[in-house]
């Protein structure tokens, strides 16, 4: 029987291409909370290697409900979290930052099989955010809200994070529970599992939209619980977290209100810091979403694929100068090409490897290689396809506190999408300066 040509391929491919290009044209916003530095009378580099990448203290600061991780000496009775000093008295500017902004220049050239190459260049305000976060005085509650005002050059007000949490226990054995909207994976993992990077974009396996319109780095609404155990002198840290959240819509955006998508998504993360600034993380995600296939044409239909992700990430920091990072994520999503046709799968094995070399405090050069290797199984698939991305960059703090960071980066992406095997390339140069104020 003659195999019928699938007519929806160009539509899906075009959407995927635009999604990939959009991701690279819009550098990540900076995610530093300068109010913490003000409240605790510290520099940004107390909790960040270079903003926004967190060091071990910064990761633990968030896990301890914004209590500054205290000194933990052998034989010392650990203090209750509620007894750890709060820092300066509560004030608006110790709990809010109104100008966390990023300005930059980007020049990009994209090619795609069957289409004319396209070049763009622009100066733009990449992002402008306001943050409200801190520890509520005399309680064990904490809160975090992020108001995105400008994203990718456009004014688009969005409350992308808004959550309230409660923490209890001691500095060495602590629990937290958080409810609201927050990143799926930020400061809940060791450094290789962070979606933030010294480079403008996080690892591709976190940021790349799958053919099922799912991006691992998103901010769902739900409940998050976690436990942290810390040895004396912070030699070993064990942490575990779990979330139950709303899933995402057909287009990959987060479900923020009442929805007929009643099933919930589950995420679990286990971390172990085995050496100073070095750790390993295991992640598991399971959810279900609606997916529109063949959008806009007669054969359009909706089905509900399960979304599965399992990943392992690890980093080792050598002499506090060189950070070796790597991550692997396996994707296994349901895939249906034709209504009432057989169910196949989108399967992908993605990884990245990166090196950050800190020439001195506040000055680093970075390089990363990302690879996405995925295929649609069954008769409708076009076989295993790969996308490769090489990125290099330089970061330098421009102030003693570390709250202003300049960065230059170049990336070269090349590959074929797993649905239509259409080849595309993307060369992107970015220079930006981030203000955290």
């Amino acid at each position: 029987m003659k195999k019928e040509k699938i007519s929806w391929i160009p539509v899906v491919v075009s959407l995927l291409f635009v999604a990939i290009c959009s991701m690279f044209v819009v550098p990540r916003k900076s995610e530093a909370l300068p109010q913490f530095a003000r409240r605790y009378n510290l520099k940004c580099t107390a909790c960040h290697t270079i903003v926004p990448v967190l060091n071990e203290q910064g990761e633990l600061f968030q896990r301890l409900g914004y209590h500054l991780p205290p000194a933990l000496q052998p034989g010392e009775v650990p203090r209750k979290l509620s007894a750890i000093p709060e820092g300066a008295d509560w004030s608006l500017t110790n709990n809010a930052s109104f100008a966390v902004a990023d300005f930059g220049y980007a020049a990009e050239r994209t090619t795609q099989e069957g289409q004319s190459p396209m070049s763009t260049s622009a100066f733009q305000v990449n992002s402008w955010n306001a943050y409200f976060a801190g520890w509520i005085p005399d309680t064990s509650f904490f809160y975090h809200a992020e108001l995105d005002i400008v994203s990718g050059g456009a004014t688009n007000v969005d409350l992308s994070n808004a959550c309230i949490g409660y923490t209890w226990g001691t500095a060495r054995n602590s629990w937290y529970v958080v409810g609201g909207r927050e990143h799926l994976q930020v400061a809940q993992g060791t450094r290789a599992a962070e979606v933030y990077s010294l480079l403008p974009n996080g690892p591709l396996l976190f940021e790349n939209p799958s053919p099922t319109n799912f991006v691992f780095d998103h901010s769902p609404v739900g409940i998050n619980v976690g436990y942290t155990w810390i040895s004396s002198d912070y030699r070993r840290v064990f942490a575990a977290s779990a979330k139950v959240t709303n899933g995402v819509n057909e287009d990959g955006s987060e479900i923020l209100g009442p929805s007929t998508r009643n099933s919930k998504a589950f995420w679990a993360d286990v971390d172990f810091w085995y050496a100073p600034e070095s750790g390993i993380t295991f992640v598991d995600y399971y959810g279900r979403k609606d997916q529109i296939q063949n959008a806009g044409i007669d054969s359009q239909f909706t089905y509900s694929p399960y979304i599965r992700r399992q990943g392992v990430f690890a980093n080792y920091m050598l002499k506090y100068k060189v950070d070796f990072l790597g991550g692997y994520m396996h994707s296994n999503d349901d895939w249906q090409a034709v209504q009432s046709g057989p169910l196949s799968r989108y399967v992908s094995n993605d990884f990245y490897a990166a090196i950050d070399y800190y020439i001195k405090q506040g000055f680093a050069v970075s390089g990363r290689y990302d690879q996405i290797r995925g295929k649609i199984t069954g008769d409708t698939g076009v076989g295993l396809q790969s996308t490769h991305d090489w990125t290099v960059g330089v970061n330098k703090t421009l102030t003693p506190s570390g709250n202003v960071v300049g960065r230059i980066a170049y990336s070269y992406l090349s590959g074929r999408d797993p649905v239509g095997a259409v080849k595309s390339t993307d060369k992107l140069f970015q220079a930006d300066i981030a203000f955290n104020f």
Binding site: Y40, N55, E56, G58, Q73, T93, A96, A130
Partner: protein, 213 residues
């Protein structure tokens, strides 16, 4: 999707509101844009012994990561107090210094204490300009301001003492300071063993005057 006039207005109104809030914060003097970590004390190591010059470089490299160098160069501590402080810093997450580096840092701090800081200390019994009592003089000499704030001035490593005279009493404060003198407390650096009863009493007298106004 074409943005409506309403959504554009809302977006601009939020932006204007946040800018006004920033301005209000500045006007009310609540905004300290990172000046708290500015290094005002300059050290000339030219006349230092070679090993102390090396120790100073370790101090500069390590202690500058989380806070400005003034945090360590301003307060005046005894050798026992500096040992306590450096051990505490080494036991913090992301401190990034080993025992050898801790020894170097301590060596520099003790050297600085006996050279630069001892020249700046007021003579025994003298009341420096601006102090109101012997208790305030003792408070300053022990470097309590490094961790405690009064009236918005000072550090944040320990509780704010602005209204301590309202929330504590003589017995509690005396017991706390006695514990520091005897080395029983692990919450703060110990006081020198030769701290006199008069000094303890005058420090308590001073703290009880702090009523938060």
């Amino acid at each position: 999707m074409k943005r409506t006039w309403t959504s554009r207005f809302f977006g601009n109104a939020v932006l204007a509101g946040l800018l006004c809030a920033s301005g209000a914060g500045l006007a009310l003097g609540q905004f300290r844009p990172f000046t708290q970590n500015r290094d005002t004390i300059k050290i000339d190591t030219a006349g230092f012994p070679a090993d102390v010059q090396r120790d100073y470089q370790v101090f500069r490299g390590k202690c500058n990561q989380c806070h400005g160098l003034d945090t360590s160069l301003k307060p005046s501590f005894s050798s026992a107090q500096w040992t306590f402080e450096v051990k505490k810093m080494q036991a913090m997450a992301s401190s990034h210094f080993n025992d050898e580096q801790a020894k170097a840092i301590l060596n520099f701090l003790n050297y600085d204490e006996t050279r630069r800081k001892s020249l700046n200390k007021p003579a025994a019994g003298a009341v420096p300009p601006g102090t109101v009592s012997a208790g305030r003089q003792f408070y300053d000499a022990q470097g309590c301001e490094a961790c405690h704030a009064i009236g918005g001035k000072g550090g944040s490593g320990g509780p704010d003492l602005t209204g301590v005279g309202n929330r504590s009493d003589r017995n509690r404060l005396t017991q706390l300071i006695e514990d520091l003198r005897s080395g029983k407390s692990d919450k703060m650096p110990p006081l020198p063993r030769d701290t006199t009863d008069d000094q303890v009493r005058s420090l308590v007298d001073y703290l009880l005057t702090l009523k938060g106004n």
